[in-house]
Amino acid sequence: MADQNTTSESDKAYWAANVRTIAVILVIWAVCSFGFGILLRPMLEGIKIGGTDLGFWFAQQGSIITFLILIFVYAWRMNNLDRQYGVEEE
């Protein structure tokens, strides 16, 4: 750990931006799985798809597709933040 004493204001701002990103993504993550797939399923019952309803689709497939998108969005966004705050690796 060569740089452990060099934490600057910019590193703190980088961390705050990271935490904000995580918070937003976690909300979407929870709404699409725990929400649409489980707790809010009764509200989606009217939307029919392939012999069942949208909640069932979210529970079995939609949530997984959402997770995939979320991870790649996070990785892409963090790469940008790394450069913006100058904390990327050599």
Partner: protein, 575 residues
Amino acid sequence: MDQFTLNLIFVGVTFALYIGIALWARAGSTSEFYAAGRGVHPILNGMATGADWMSAASFLSMAGIIAFGGYETSAYLMGWTGGYVLLAMLLAPYLRKFGKFTVPEFIGDRFYSQTARTVAVICLIVASVTYVIGQMKGVGVAFSGFLNMSYSGGLWLGAAIVAMYAVLGGMKGITYTQVAQYVVLITAYTIPAIFISLQLTGNPIPALGLFSDTNSGAPLLEQLNQVVQDLGFKSYTAQSGSTFNMFLFTLSLMIGTAGLPHVIVRFFTVPRVSDARWSAGWALVFIALLYLTAPAVGAMARLNFINTIYPNGLQGESLKIDEQPGWMLNWERTGLLAIEDKNNDGHITYSANGEANEVVKLDRDIMVLANPEIANLPSWVIALVVAGGLAAALSTAAGLLMAISSAVSHDLIKGIINPGISEKNELLAARISMLVSILIATWLGLNPPGFAAQTVALAFGLAAASIFPALMMGIFSKRINNKGAVAGMLSGLIVTLVYIFLHKGWFFVPGTNSFDDADPLLGPIKSTSFGAVGALVNFVVAYVVSNATEDTPEEIKALVESVRVPRGAGGAVDH
């Protein structure tokens, strides 16, 4: 060529391939043995993580459980994929930046305490051994089915092969072998699913076939709902059990995913911090290929199974006892399927009514293996599935045994008991701990606490309650100190373990349980779902104890700040 010879050829060729790769990439130094020298590309690492991750539970067991459990078992699908989001954002990049080899190493350094490191080793071993029990169940089912032997015979044979295989290579051998295993297992899972989806719905993509119309014109799921309800079972797509339990179960599997050491160490092997994030994404891509197909496999297998018993429709004549297809007779020989002609009418009755039902035993873990035979697919497809199932079980068992052995030899023996141990003796200790874990897991696997996926779910609960909270608080809070972390991990582990033992038997010994999951101790919370509660206990205890005791030292605050930024990650640091 008969089916047995064909199975033997497919299994033989794939095994020769894995062992060849393991020998070719044989681990030379301890650093290669644990972490493959950090030279693995994110896409390859993603595939290897996929193979590591998708075990007998995902491959053999999950679709069968979905087939008979319907909507509620979606918890497995969401739980075992959603955890990757947590892993990518909350753990992987920071642990890679930290730059050591094992999970207990991070916990020991961050909480500046050998006690914390020892407790982490204990948590890791408890969760991993439970996980290996589930794998051994799958290995036993696969070997007994393909060699036409009893379940226990298949289990011991499988254990011998797993032992040989895991002791031979280290992480490096395993990483490249696991890429090969991923390719075998995903091909083996997808091809029969495509055939079956084409047969039933005409759609070549099983994930879409699930929501398509069958050849009779009605949607597949509607038709399935109709027949299962006519037989007296609960509707396939409707919610029937407790919503709260399903919520907790999903959460527990998600947190557990992010807390399982054999998956986390994968992210120690990528070259850079940013690669750790991409690797989590790639891993989920390769995992999703199977997980999007699995619900289709489950629903279609259930429908095909019912159609096998009732070839002329539910009102028509059912299957005659002495006209059973070969696959039924084969599985009856293993003891995992049992048919009993209770009313002596020469026909098989399948029904939710326990007294009339003549399919008296149907182990759900056989469904994926039997699926291609149920659908009358060509024999090479069947052989491929056997090879794929073994690849899945073997790769995960090997990854878990690696995690256990490095925790024992690197963290416990080298880190705490005898820091002066030679590299040779460290490797020897690693291999001995692998063998001991295999023996324990196999012995417990003779009477597993559930189907493969359910046993594995218990392991996730344990990881969720013990390891994940400690890692997350270690990164996201500077205030959690040594005492808080130790108290948190211990209380999370103990409450979860006790809750599981109360329902599944003490130390999983059958018959020693005071409750069961049909009527759990705490309202609707089943033992498989308790990990989420255990995690909450861990967080609360760690927070309270930390705030009641002294603050963390300055150098630990600096360490936390340093793992939060990628800059200066560099290579691995051994000590």
